[in-house]
């Protein structure tokens, strides 16, 4: 037992337990890596086409499922069907800061209650701080029903 005579060997031995902690640190990195939840690609019923008459935008709710790691949450989201644009479906979330826009039938425009952005009946931005028009959602018609996909926002301020 003459370890103390050999400084190199000594410091190497002291490093040995450290190796275990390094491997734990490596595992910790993998362990803690953020989980990007895949946007749910399920088609959600908005309304039967027969209910979508008239020229005014129609507000509807869709219930979308979100999976965050171990948790499934179901959330209601407001959407608008725009007859002016061939029943395109837009999210009611204002592309500015994420408040929900309201339809003002008298002025024939959407208004955001938070920072006074205004959008036309086709969803295009009219005025206010919003950077763009209301965000369209992927939609289709299946069995006489209008359906949308409501994905998770990939980055703040964007939809689907």
């Amino acid at each position: 037992m003459r370890d103390s005579d050999q400084p190199t060997r000594r410091s190497f031995l002291l490093l040995a337990p450290l190796g275990v902690f390094v491997s734990i640190a490596g595992a910790a990195f993998r362990f803690l890596r953020p989980r990007i939840s895949a946007a749910t690609d399920r088609w959600l019923d908005v309304a039967p086409l027969t209910e979508l008459s008239g020229s005014q935008p129609v507000g509807r709710k869709v219930v979308a499922e979100h999976i965050a790691g171990w948790a499934i949450t179901t959330e209601e989201h407001n959407v608008f069907v725009l007859p002016a644009k061939g029943n395109q479906v837009v999210s009611a979330v204002c592309p500015h800061e994420g408040c929900e826009v309201l339809w003002d039938g008298q002025r024939n425009q959407f208004s955001c209650p938070c920072h006074e952005s205004y959008f036309g009946a086709g969803g295009a931005r009219i005025s206010g701080p919003a950077p763009r028009g209301l965000d369209p959602l992927p939609s289709r018609v299946q069995d006489g029903k209008l359906q949308v996909q409501y994905g998770l926002p990939q980055e703040p301020g964007t939809r689907a």
Binding site: M1, E75, E76
Partner: protein, 439 residues
């Protein structure tokens, strides 16, 4: 005191120079001196993996099992991290016991009493950490572990009834119990362990030898945890009657002992005797015939632990039915796939109103917004539902009361009207409070 310094080895830990040790302790004796390093590394592993597990764990009976299962089956390296923590606690208890025996052998209680006391306290705290930790996954095993803890505490003389209530946080095992065990396990006990370590730092005799031993043990633990997943039983809601509860390795002696002790005396065997033994060992320094007393306590303790643990494993192994069932339980945690659990969302359950609508709401609001705030339609006019309105911006109780007075100020358009001339302030508040609770 000095006359009792018979063993040359006992002062090794104080020495920073290795020359003396190199001459005086060799062979098995020298390697037995390395328990300090092993304990230090295992404790560090417990702290690190515990912190990592806390990143996912949720201490609520609704989610605890799901989050542990998620860590075990989905998160990268999760099974390894959890297994390190699980088996690490058992190894830590084992090596701390060896450490205490070794210190006793070296008569540390005579000339290094602080170290002796600190090591005993650490052993007690590590056992307490294990005891509270087994409840946290909230699987079938956790349920039985919590039940046993409840039974042991409630059987204590004089303080049993009150102790049980304080332990459970109520008169039954509930989510409050889980929260208590969680707080003890991740805050109180680690805090006390850190305190003990700061109070009397673990010192290492021969640093190299300690490093080698600690590295070997840690490597073995890492490989063991790699090979064997920490067990995770069925959740408490899916457990079947044929489930066989078995405690973690460091409590098997207690589990087996309770088989031989008549019901009422379980607490004596499980809590009072170990407690008394701990107190006697802590005060060994001031006792006559310390050597004899310590030998009796530690010797009978070691005999009990080894004997009972062996008896338990042997009896499980001998019974084919038990062996089969235990194998099924062992496979369960690996075979069943992970299923995410539904978290109740605040906005979807429209029918959940916890109280009937106020009369004034029915009179002034229900015609348009529906009797339960579900919204409505009259010809061309659509009236928005009020359910979940509290999650929208600017819709606190104050806001709702305010918009009843002046809807335009809140961006609302006709036909929503002002009720300033119909309702008094308190009446508006009453309505607002009810609407705000709508889900």
């Amino acid at each position: 005191m000095t006359s009792r310094k018979s063993s040359a080895n006992k002062s090794n830990e104080r020495l920073t120079s290795n020359q003396k040790i190199a001459g005086s302790s060799n062979g098995i004796q020298a390697w037995l001196e390395t328990t300090s390093g092993i304990v230090a590394v295992l404790l560090t592993v417990q702290f690190l993996t515990g912190i990592l597990l806390a990143f996912y764990y949720v201490p609520s009976v609704d989610h605890a099992y799901t989050t542990v299962e998620f860590v075990q089956k989905v998160v990268s390296s999760g099974a390894w991290i959890r297994s390190l923590h699980h088996y690490g606690s058992q190894w830590l208890a084992f090596f701390l016991f060896l450490h205490v025996v070794r210190l006793f052998w070296n008569e540390a209680y005579v000339d290094r009493n602080k170290l002796w006391i600190a090591s005993l306290l650490l052993l007690g705290l590590v056992m307490a950490g294990g005891g509270t930790g087994y409840s946290l996954p909230w699987d079938a095993r956790a349920f039985f572990s919590t039940r046993i803890a409840e039974g042991l505490v409630s059987g204590l003389p004089f303080v049993g009834r009150l102790g049980r209530l304080w332990l459970l946080g109520g008169n039954e095992i509930s989510t409050l119990t889980l929260s208590r065990f969680f707080a003890l396990h991740v805050l109180v006990i680690p805090g006390l362990i850190a305190g003990v370590i700061i109070w009397r730092r673990l010192t290492f005799g021969n640093v190299e030898r300690n490093a080698i031993a600690a590295w070997l043990v840690a490597l073995a633990l890492a490989l063991w945890s790699w090979k064997f997943n920490a067990p995770l039983g069925p959740s408490t809601t899916t457990v079947t009657a044929d489930y066989l509860p078995r405690p973690g390795a460091q409590f098997v002696w207690l589990y087996q002992s309770l088989k031989y002790v008549p019901g009422g005396l379980g607490s004596i065997a499980g809590l009072v005797l170990p407690g008394v033994a701990l107190i006697v060992l802590l005060s060994l320094r001031w006792l006559r015939r310390a050597r004899l007393i310590g030998t009796v306590i530690l010797g009978s303790g070691a005999l009990l632990i080894v004997g009972m643990t062996t008896a338990s494993y042997v009896s499980d192994y001998k019974n084919p039915n038990v062996r089969k069932q235990l194998a099924i339980q062992d496979a369960y945690s690996r075979l069943s796939p992970f299923a995410p659990s539904a978290v109740r969302s605040s906005q979807t359950d429209n029918t959940n109103t916890d109280a009937a609508a106020p009369v004034l709401y029915i009179k002034w609001c229900a015609n348009c917004h529906g009797r339960n705030g579900e919204g409505g339609q009259q010809g061309q006019l659509r009236f928005p539902p009020l359910t979940g309105v509290s999650t929208k911006p600017r819709r606190t109780v104050d806001d709702i009361a305010g918009l009843l007075k002046d809807p335009q100020a809140y961006g609302l358009q006709p036909p929503m009207r002002s009720f300033a001339d119909k309702l008094t302030e308190p009446e508006m508040r009453e309505i607002a409070e009810w609407v705000h609770r709508l889900r």
